[in-house]
């Protein structure tokens, strides 16, 4: 009896953004005719992006009346491997694996598939070693590409630029590839490369960017392809108003907090590449449902396209939060991705 109206209280006890569900027009196939339990095994749940992602997952699971176990490794890859084992051992009917290292997760994913548990992967490059898992991802290359194209449009070629990133984190590494290519083709000169990925990334990144700025006050733009880095960078700019006033910042990701920062008076964050983590969380869950019901073959691939969000766009449409943004940019919702007539799709 999945309803059709907004029902924030029953959807989840812990939602920030509550969704609307579409109407179902068919009865659910097996195994959804009985009680179903699925698990999400995520590398990290900390931070807004992941919380919203999980929120989407929860609401989509609840919309179909499916029980959801959440395994969160708090950023520890070894723990994630253990938790994947635990999820398999706990006898769930389907598993979403979100982020992590392919080599870490591969054995567990294959073990699950061998035991007959369907697995959907999000953002782990695991095709070669676990070909039977369903692959989903947001396109980091597209995300970086969209923003860097905008940056090129804004500042032109042959400029001095700064870069805030760290190596060793898969999606950031993928964005890094695009950045390096852009440096070459656009003739940009990277004046500094700094960043700190810790438990409080934004706070710890700020002083480093601040110092880097002092020795390189002549950069015209900074690319910080992760919103915690972007926040840290903004905070560093704020501390150096004398040298930093003209610098444009290009970031990644979007959240209510990010919108606030981008639209703030005098904000230097001019563009970001965005997906709606809520929508992606829900879409990945729908993908799992389809796969479990046999409507999506093993080894299938599903991509979630990002959009470009600029400061001008936000200001022109007077966008204050994610709801406003979704209203102005329905493409964020991707509610048609992995939809079916028996799945009440959650849109936000």
């Amino acid at each position: 009896s999945q309803g059709t109206t907004t029902d924030p209280t029953s959807a989840s006890s812990s939602s920030a953004d509550s969704g609307t569900t579409t109407e179902v027009t068919a009865d659910a196939p097996a195994p959804f005719d009985g009680p179903v339990r699925i698990a999400i095994v995520q590398q990290s749940g900390q931070g807004d992006y992941f919380q919203q992602y999980l929120n989407g997952t929860r609401q989509q699971a609840a919309a179909l009346g499916v029980e959801l176990d959440v395994y969160d490794a708090q950023g520890d890859n070894a723990t994630q491997a253990s938790q994947l084992d635990q999820a398999i051992a706990s006898g769930v009917d389907g598993i979403v694996v979100r982020h992590g290292y392919p080599d870490t997760l591969c054995p567990g994913v294959n073990a699950a598939i061998e035991k007959g548990i369907p697995v959907v992967i999000y953002d782990v490059e695991i095709q070669t070693c676990a070909p039977d898992a369903v692959q989903t991802q947001q396109s980091d290359a597209d995300m970086a590409g969209l923003v860097l194209d905008q940056m090129l449009k804004d500042i032109g070629t042959d400029q001095k630029v700064g870069y805030v990133n760290v190596a060793g984190i898969a999606p950031l590494d993928r964005r890094d590839v695009v950045w390096r290519a852009a440096l070459d083709t656009n003739g940009w000169q990277q004046m500094f490369y700094t960043g700190s990925f810790t438990n409080s990334t934004a706070t710890d990144t700020a002083p480093m960017v601040s110092s880097a700025l002092k020795s390189n006050p002549d950069v015209v733009a900074i690319y910080a392809p992760y919103d915690e880095f972007t926040k840290g960078t903004l905070s560093a700019l704020e501390q150096n108003p004398d040298i930093a006033s003209g610098i444009k910042v290009y970031g990644a990701d979007i959240s209510a907090a990010d919108i606030e920062l981008m639209t703030a008076e005098g904000s230097q964050w001019v563009a970001t590449g965005a997906t709606d983590p809520n929508a992606i969380g829900a879409a990945v869950t729908r993908t799992l449902f389809l796969h479990m019901a046999g409507e999506l073959p093993k080894g299938a691939t599903v991509d979630f396209p990002p959009i470009l969000v600029t400061q001008d766009f936000l200001r022109q449409n007077n966008i204050k939060n994610m709801d406003d943004l979704r209203a102005a940019e329905p493409a964020l919702n991707i509610s048609d991705v992995s939809g079916a007539d028996w799945i009440p799709s959650v849109t936000f």
Binding site: D17, Q46, S200, P207, S211
Partner: protein, 342 residues
């Protein structure tokens, strides 16, 4: 009169000098080196931003210092600072209250944490390290419950579907972004707190009694000292200082941040421990803690300006700590006695 008089030869005099001033000399030396090689380093804006950067570490380090004085060690300060971040953001964003109200809420939160620590340690007799370690985990998790693990920011959608009514007030944001004259407010706060801590610790009966409790609690008790009170007091002070650190952090970030604070713990401990060795004191003290924070700030700022990779930060931090300690402990001819107990 043959014997080996400890002749105060030139050598031992140099040694004593190094123990006493070596640490300061290294700090000054590094400062001068960076100032000469990186012209941007010694500009006043660069210096103030470095001081601003060091302020949170220094303030949390002061909290650690107080608990080290009573022979303990507060491992919950990082989490307490994080709690402060959360509380401030919630007060202003969720409940749309004023900046001063947020400050009061944060300090009350700190007080509660401090009292809980004191309860566990003094009344329930759980050793300091263990009690505060447990509290650290509890706070880290508990602070996320009311916000469902999300960072609080204005305009966010609440559980009941409504949009959060408030936002960070300009006066609150002044805590980090304000100035007194040319000096950033957090730097003023840091210096004031260091001076106050120094004053309390070395010029008042409270401070003396706290040192007594740390030096030998049984002897202090038999001298009529209310050991439990002073022991607990140190944890309350520590939690309050951590809350002040958290206030600066949250005003710097300008929104809630679920992760703020936690990375400060080990750094604050390092700074306070390094501080024990400044001026050959051999006991935890406020100025030493400040100097430790400054040294770390100088090294990180300087090396970042010199374009080092981000992962050299940790190496540099560690080496600085170790070199500072070599001066104080290895060269020292008197036995330094500070031992933080359980």
């Amino acid at each position: 009169m043959t014997g080996q008089l400890s002749e105060t030869t030139t050598l031992t005099r140099i040694q004593d000098w190094v123990v006493k001033y070596g640490f300061i000399a290294v700090t000054v030396g590094l400062f001068v080196y960076f100032a000469i090689t990186e012209p941007a380093f010694a500009t006043s804006s660069s210096l103030f931003s470095m001081l601003k950067f060091a302020s949170v570490t220094a303030i949390l380090g002061l909290g650690v210092t107080f608990t080290m004085v009573v022979g303990g060690l507060d491992l919950s300060i990082g989490a307490t600072a994080g709690l402060a971040v959360q509380l401030a953001a919630m007060t202003m964003v969720f409940y749309n209250l004023t900046g001063p109200t947020a400050v009061v809420a944060v300090l009350l939160g700190g007080l509660v944490v401090g009292l809980l620590n004191a309860l566990l340690i003094v009344v329930f007799r759980i050793p300091d390290l263990l009690a505060t370690l447990g509290m650290m985990f509890v706070i880290q998790g508990a602070k996320l419950i009311p916000v469902d693990g999300q960072s609080v920011s204005s305009g966010m959608v609440l559980r009941d579907g409504s949009v959060a009514p408030g936002s960070f007030t300009p006066d609150f944001l002044k805590i980090d972004r304000g100035f007194i004259g040319p000096v950033p407010l957090p730097v003023v706060i840091m210096l004031a707190l260091v001076a106050l801590s120094w004053f309390v610790l070395s010029r008042t009966t409270w401070g003396r009694l706290m040192y007594a409790v740390g030096a030998n609690p049984e002897a202090a008790r038999l001298a009529g000292v209310r050991v439990g009170f002073y022991h607990g007091l140190a944890y309350v002070i520590s939690a309050l200082l951590a809350s002040v650190g958290g206030l600066i952090l949250v005003s710097r970030i300008g929104q809630g941040d679920v992760n703020a604070g936690s990375s400060s713990l080990l750094e604050a401990v390092a700074v306070a421990l390094v501080g024990t060795s400044v001026l050959g004191m051999g006991k935890p003290n406020a100025w030493g803690t400040l100097l430790g924070a400054l040294l770390v700030g100088i090294v990180l700022t300087g090396l970042t300006m010199k374009g080092m990779q981000y992962y050299h930060q940790d190496t540099a931090k560690g080496l600085v700590v170790i070199v500072a300690l070599l001066f104080s402990f290895t060269l020292s001819r008197k036995k330094l006695r500070y031992t933080p107990a359980t």
